[in-house]
Each structure stands twice: as structure tokens, then as C-alpha cells.
């Protein structure tokens, strides 16, 4: 039963299908922003099929085992995260699932770092080191923003968080924006696409990957494009309600968050890694702390809009 759930419905296949559609949406909207037509809607799937059929090359200087294991690690993390998140939206939650989820969401970044370091290419290693710095930069702000939502919902259960719309207050709004930017960085989208900067370090950690391992990395990215907006939505905008037409409203919210991410991606130039770290540690952390203090005051004094 659990295996079936893991492979089919809320797990791998489901997340992959929605992720592929979201990925097409992302490319199509980007194309429209740039006044182009954009790819057909099966394009992300074609990309995956093509990559699956290509030769797998392992560079001579690479650590073979780790190089091939890294994509699997990230993929496993994304699969489990989608399982937990979707089940929480269905109302089935367990104590501490939020913490498990936060850890699982780090796995894809970790797999990119491991893969980049294992490939033995100096440019990949540079990309991996940038990814490490980026993770260290945004993770604290993200967790603080999530704590604000926990205060608002008065619970650490994901399903409870999913029933509370915590963006309806000042601290909630601030925390939402911080989390949105952190998620932008997690997805590796501009302005935080520093780790895989195509124009300067040629796809960074992915540089040496080809064939099926690269397909697995792409699939993980695509699944994260489904998981992370859903995560943001569940935490701040009050998840998906499956009673009646609630799922339609949920879909609209999901598309809204996705659209915001895509538009930020398309209207911002890439930051340097030091600028990104300064941004998150100075403004991100500062604003997240401010939101936390406001939320605490609101909680104690009983002012609901704070």
C-alpha cells in the first residue's frame, strides 16, 4: 500500500506529471514574456525521454559511485516530500511532519552539491560551492518564515497549517515574501540561479552529467517545481480543500504562486553569490526576525492583524 502510494498517486508519478505540466507552464510563460511562442506542452516530457535514451558518460577524474548515486538521492527526497505534502493536504498528518519535510526539501540541493563535487570538474566544483553558500544563506530565513506561520496556526502539524490562512496579517505577509524568495533560490531560478549560471559556469554542477543521471536531475527539478509552490501555499495560503469546488480554488492559488515565481524569474538579472548571501543574511533574516517579533507580539497581546 505504502509502496503503491510512493510510486503512483501522491508520490513519484503524480508529482512528476504535475511537475512536467508546471514546467511547461513555466517555459511557456517565459516565452510569452519574451514575446515568443514557446515549446509545445509535451516538451518537458520529450526532454526527459531524450535524456533517458542518451549515453551515460562518467568522467575519468570522478568518484564513480557518488557521481551516479547523487541524482537518485535528490530524486528520493523529492518523492518523499511530495508524498508527505500531498497527504497533509488530504488531512492526514503526523506529529513533526513539517520538520521532516523541511529536511527532505534540502535533499535535492544536497544531491546537486554531492554530484558537482564528485564529478571532479573544477567548474562543477565551483558551482557546487556556490550552491553550498546559497543553501546556507536562504535556509535560516525560510525556517524563520515558517515559524511565523506556525505561530499563526498555533500548531506544527502540516494539516493544521494547511487550514490556516496565515497571510492575513502583517507578519504573515512579510514572512510570505521572504519564503517566496527563499523558494526562488531553492528552485535555482533567477535572480538566484547562481549555482548553475549557464552563461558563466556552463550549468555548474550538472556540467559533467549526461543521459539518464541528467534526466533524473531534471525530473527532480521538475518535481520541485510542483512541491515548493505547494509547500508555500500549504504554509501560508491555506492549502487545498478537497470538499466541493475547493480544489479549483486550490489550483488557482497554486497557479498564482507559480506565476509569481516565473515572473520574478523573468524580470530579474542574476545576482553574484556575495550579493545573494548579503541579501539573505541582511534583509531576509532581518525581515524574517521582524515578522517573528510582530507575530509574537500579536500573539501575546491579541492583536490579530499583526
Amino acid at each position: 500500500m505504502v509502496i503503491l502510494e510512493l510510486i503512483f498517486y501522491p508520490g513519484m508519478l503524480f508529482a512528476a506529471v504535475i511537475g512536467l505540466l508546471s514546467s511547461w507552464f513555466e517555459r511557456r510563460v517565459s516565452a510569452l514574456v519574451q514575446w515568443r511562442v514557446g515549446p509545445p506542452h509535451l516538451q518537458p516530457l520529450y526532454d526527459l525521454i531524450k535524456l533517458a535514451g542518451k549515453e551515460t558518460l562518467v568522467p575519468l577524474g570522478a568518484n564513480r559511485g557518488l557521481f551516479l548515486l547523487a541524482p537518485v538521492l535528490g530524486f528520493a527526497g523529492a518523492t518523499l516530500a511530495s508524498l508527505i505534502l500531498w497527504k497533509a493536504n488530504l488531512g492526514r498528518s503526523f506529529l513533526g511532519d513539517l520538520i521532516v519535510l523541511l529536511y527532505l526539501l534540502v535533499l535535492p540541493s544536497l544531491s546537486v552539491i554531492l554530484g558537482g563535487l564528485a564529478s571532479g570538474n573544477p567548474v562543477s566544483i565551483l558551482g557546487a560551492s556556490r550552491e553550498i553558500k546559497l543553501v546556507l544563506a536562504y535556509e535560516v530565513s525560510l525556517v524563520l518564515a515558517v515559524i511565523v506561520a506556525i505561530l499563526k496556526a498555533d500548531s506544527i502539524l502540516l494539516s493544521k497549517l494547511g487550514n490556516t490562512i496565515s497571510i492575513g496579517s502583517l507578519s504573515g505577509v512579510i514572512a510570505f515574501f521572504i519564503a517566496l524568495l527563499a523558494i526562488q533560490a531553492k528552485l535555482g531560478f533567477a535572480p538566484f540561479d547562481i549555482a548553475e549560471a549557464e552563461t558563466e559556469i556552463m550549468a555548474g554542477p550538472y556540467l559533467e552529467y549526461s543521459g539518464p543521471p541528467l534526466a533524473l536531475f531534471k525530473l527532480t527539478q521538475v518535481m520541485m517545481l510542483f512541491i515548493l509552490p505547494l509547500f508555500l501555499m500549504t504554509i501560508f495560503l491555506g492549502g487545498i480543500d478537497f470538499r466541493g469546488l475547493g480544489w479549483l480554488w486550490g489550483l488557482l492559488k497554486y497557479l498564482g504562486v507559480l506565476l509569481a515565481i516565473i515572473l520574478i524569474k523573468n524580470t530579474n538579472p542574476r545576482l553574484r553569490i556575495d550579493q545573494a548571501i548579503r541579501f539573505f543574511w541582511r534583509y531576509g533574516l532581518g525581515l524574517a526576525l521582524l515578522a517573528l517579533i510582530l507575530a509574537l507580539i500579536g500573539d501575546r497581546v491579541g492583536i490579530r492583524w499583526l
Binding site: P39, Q43, Y46, K50, K54, L57, L207
Partner: protein
Amino acid sequence: MGSGGSNSKRLNWRAWGVTKSPWVYHLATGTCNNCDIELLDCLTPRYDVERFGIKLVGSPRHADVLMVTGMMNRKVLPRFIEICRQVPKPYIIVALGACGANKGIFHNSYNTVGPVERVVREVLKEDTIVVNVPGCPPKPEAIILGVVKGLKLLLERG
């Protein structure tokens, strides 16, 4: 469809995948830069090759189409061979411009090594599909047509 045994007509899914999302790696082997600029024109909103799933990638290991521009000189030859060996199969090579196709205006230069196709056959010793797109520089339409012809060949060869 029609004549031919079922064996020869069976669709090779690997080749089919490549025709559906050909990622291009741009390799300049000593150009006058005009061909490179025409290649970039293909990515502009006017031609928008992403409609066909074509996109430019930064690593030869992600490439399906090796877009070689310019007159290959002796310094570049070992690098070219190295890069060809790093591209995962199946892939095609497109030699862009009169230079890549048959030496073009550099036909009597001392520092050049033959057209791309000859280098691939005689130095690399592989039977990779090489498409020559003549023109100095070729039009974006011609470049797209060249890629299409190469991919068709790949599909037929299976």
C-alpha cells in the same frame, strides 16, 4: 510507410527522442563571428527555435547537435576531437557556413585543417552524421533546415 521489412522501419526511440528535443552546443573553431551571430538569430523571437524544443546548452555532455562554425585551424583540432568524444551518442554535427563546409574564403590559408566532415571521417574516424550548411553566413532559415535534415537522417539511420 510501405515497402521495407518491419525491422528496418521500426522507430528507434533514442533517435526519436533526439529529434524531439535537440539541444545545441555551439562550438566556434575560428570563425569571423558572422556565423555565430546568425546562429544566435535563430533564438530570437522572430525564429524562436524553442518551438521545436531546440535550446542552447553550455556543456557538450548535454548536447545532441554539435554546431560547428568557422574555419577549423590547427590549434583547435585537438580540442575539437576532444569535444566530439565528450558528446553522448546519438548526436549529429552541423557544419555551419561555407568555412565549415568546404573552407570558404580561407581555402588557401596555411593554418587550416580540412572541412569539418573530412576531419570527422579521417581524424576522428567516426560515421557521425555531418550536415553542411553553406552560405557566408547562412540564413537562420537555412540553419534550421540543416538541423531538420540532419535529424531526419538520424531517424532513418535509427
